[in-house]
C-alpha cells in the first residue's frame, strides 16, 4: 500500500494549479473576449484623431460578439461637419467592417478591408442620423468591439486630400472622405 506523504499533497495542489493556469492560457486567445483591450485600442485610436483636431468620444456602443454578427446603431450627424467613425477590437477579432448609411437607407461609406480595426471619414451633407453597422466579419471565438466617433467643424471646402496631421488641437483642416487608417 502506497503511503501518502505531506510532500505528495503539496505537489498535487501545485500540479492542479499549474494545470488550471495552462488550460486558462490555452483558452485566452481562442475563446475569450477582452473588452478592456478593445477599449484601450479605441482610446489609442482616439488620441491620434484628437491630434488632428477631431472632438472624439465613445458612442456607448460596445460589446462582445462572435464572427458573422452585425450590430446596428444610430449616430446623429450634422451638416458640414467632418466625421470619423472608428471600430477598435481585441485580439480575438480577426476582421471587422463598418458600414454607414444615411437616414433614407443610402450607403454613405464602408470599410471592408481585412483587419482588426475599421474606420471611415466623411463630411455630412445633412442634419439627422446615420445608421451604422459594425460587422464582425471574422473572429476566433468571441471578440470585443468598441465604437468611437469624432467630429470636426471646418468652414473650408471638402478637398478630397489627406487630413492635415498638423491640425492638432484645432478645429479646422481639410477633409478626406474615405476609409481611414485607424
Amino acid at each position: 500500500m502506497r503511503v501518502k506523504k505531506a510532500g505528495d499533497n503539496k505537489m498535487t495542489r501545485i500540479s492542479r494549479a499549474l494545470c488550471l493556469a495552462a488550460v486558462g492560457l490555452l483558452g485566452i486567445d481562442s475563446g475569450f473576449a477582452d473588452p478592456a483591450e478593445a477599449e484601450d485600442t479605441a482610446y489609442r485610436m482616439a488620441r491620434k484623431y484628437v491630434e488632428k483636431g477631431f472632438a472624439m468620444a465613445p458612442t456607448d456602443h460596445s460589446g462582445v460578439c462572435g464572427g458573422g454578427t452585425a450590430i446596428e446603431f444610430l449616430i446623429p450627424v450634422n451638416k458640414g461637419l467632418d466625421y470619423v467613425f472608428l471600430v477598435g477590437t481585441d485580439l480575438a477579432a480577426r476582421d471587422v467592417d463598418i458600414y454607414v448609411y444615411d437616414d433614407v437607407g443610402g450607403l454613405i461609406l464602408d470599410d471592408r478591408r481585412p483587419g482588426r480595426l475599421a474606420g471611415v471619414q466623411f463630411r455630412s451633407s445633412y442634419n439627422g442620423t446615420t445608421k451604422v453597422y459594425m460587422h464582425m466579419a471574422s473572429s476566433i471565438g468571441l471578440a470585443s468591439w468598441y465604437v468611437l466617433v469624432g467630429r470636426r467643424g471646418s468652414i473650408k471646402p471638402e478637398t478630397g486630400g489627406r487630413v492635415d496631421p498638423t491640425a492638432a488641437q484645432s478645429e479646422g483642416g481639410s477633409s478626406a472622405p474615405g476609409v481611414v487608417g485607424p
Binding site: L18, V23, N78, G80, D103, R151
Partner: protein, 283 residues
C-alpha cells in the same frame, strides 16, 4: 512513485509550453495564421443596439460652420439654460437618471464654451449623480482627467475624457435591471440639448441654420422607447411629462433635409423642452 513524481512536472511543462505557444499570434511566430473566413454581411439580420446618448455639441459645431466663422458666445447660452442640480434633491434612481442626462448635456455646452469653472461645476454634479446610480470611484476617474485637461486648456482632451466618463457611467446602466434609467438619461439629455440649441436660435434666428434641429429618426426612436417604459416608471411625477413632450417634438424636427424650422416652431420646441426638463427636475 518515482515515475509519477517525474512524469507530472514533465507533463505540466509540455502543457505550459503548448499554452504559451498557442498565445503567440501568427505574426509573432512568422507562420501564416488560420483566419476564419469572412462572414457575409446581411443588414436585415443585424441586431439593434441601444440608442446613443445625444449631444448638443455637434449641433453647436454645425451652427458655427453654418454661421461661417461668426463668433458665438456659448457661455451666454450656458448661463441662460444650464441648471445646477443637487444630487441630494434626487430622492430615487429615476430622479437621479433624469438629472444626470441634463447635466451631461450642460457639460458638453461647458466644453464648447471652453469655461473651466462651468466644466468643473458640471463634472462635480455628474460625479455625485452617477454615484447615486451606483457608479464607483474607479468608474469616475475620468472626471478628474477631464478637470485636469480643462485647467490646461486642452478642450478636445476634455471632450474625449468626458466622453469616456459618460461611457463608463452608461456601462453601469447597461445591466438589464438599469435599462430604464439608461433610457431616461438619454431622453432628458436630448431635451436639455434641445433647450440649449433652441435658446440660441430664438436669440439669433436664421432660417438657414434652423435645420440643425432636424432629427426625425432619433426622436422617433426616443419617443417609442419612452412610451414603452414600465407603467410605474411612466407614472413617476418627474417622468410623466416626457412621453407627450417627445410626441409633440417629433413633428417639429421631422422636416426635409433642406427645409427650415420656422421661428414659431423653434419657440414651440423650446417650450416643450423647457416644460419637460423643469418637470424632470421637479421645478
Amino acid at each position: 512513485m518515482q515515475a509519477s513524481s517525474f512524469s507530472l512536472p514533465v507533463l505540466l511543462a509540455i502543457i505550459c509550453s503548448l499554452a504559451l505557444t498557442g498565445r503567440l499570434s501568427g505574426e509573432e511566430t512568422g507562420k501564416a495564421e488560420e483566419i476564419p473566413p469572412k462572414a457575409p454581411f446581411n443588414p436585415s439580420q443585424a441586431q439593434s443596439s441601444r440608442l446613443p446618448l445625444p449631444s448638443p455639441y455637434d449641433k453647436m459645431l454645425a451652427i458655427e460652420v453654418a454661421a461661417k466663422g461668426k463668433k458665438i458666445e456659448w457661455a451666454k447660452v450656458y448661463d441662460a439654460v444650464a441648471i445646477d442640480v443637487d444630487a441630494n434633491s434626487s430622492p430615487d434612481k429615476t430622479s437621479a437618471a433624469l438629472a444626470l442626462g441634463i447635466k451631461i448635456a450642460d457639460g458638453l455646452v461647458a466644453v464648447k464654451s471652453q469655461d473651466v469653472e462651468k466644466l468643473n461645476s458640471c463634472a462635480t454634479q455628474i460625479e455625485s449623480l452617477a454615484k447615486k446610480l451606483g457608479a464607483s470611484d474607479e468608474e469616475l476617474r475620468r472626471a478628474r482627467l477631464a478637470r485636469e485637461n480643462a485647467n490646461k486648456g486642452k478642450w478636445l482632451d476634455v471632450f474625449l475624457e468626458l466622453g469616456f466618463l459618460q461611457a463608463d457611467i452608461m456601462k453601469t446602466l447597461n445591466r438589464k435591471e438599469n435599462a430604464n434609467e439608461r433610457k431616461l438619461i438619454v431622453a432628458s439629455g436630448w431635451m436639455q440639448g434641445a433647450r440649449h440649441v433652441t435658446y440660441y436660435l430664438m436669440e439669433d434666428y436664421d432660417a438657414g441654420i434652423s435645420n440643425v434641429l432636424r432629427e426625425p429618426l432619433l426622436v422617433g426612436e426616443l419617443s417609442k422607447e419612452i412610451k414603452e417604459l414600465p407603467a410605474e416608471t411612466l407614472a413617476h411625477p418627474r417622468v410623466k411629462a416626457l412621453p407627450s413632450a417627445f410626441e409633440q417634438a417629433l413633428p417639429l424636427v421631422s422636416i426635409g433635409r433642406e427645409d427650415s424650422v420656422s421661428r414659431d416652431n423653434v419657440a414651440k420646441l423650446k417650450s416643450i423642452a423647457d416644460l419637460a426638463v423643469r418637470s424632470a427636475l421637479n421645478q
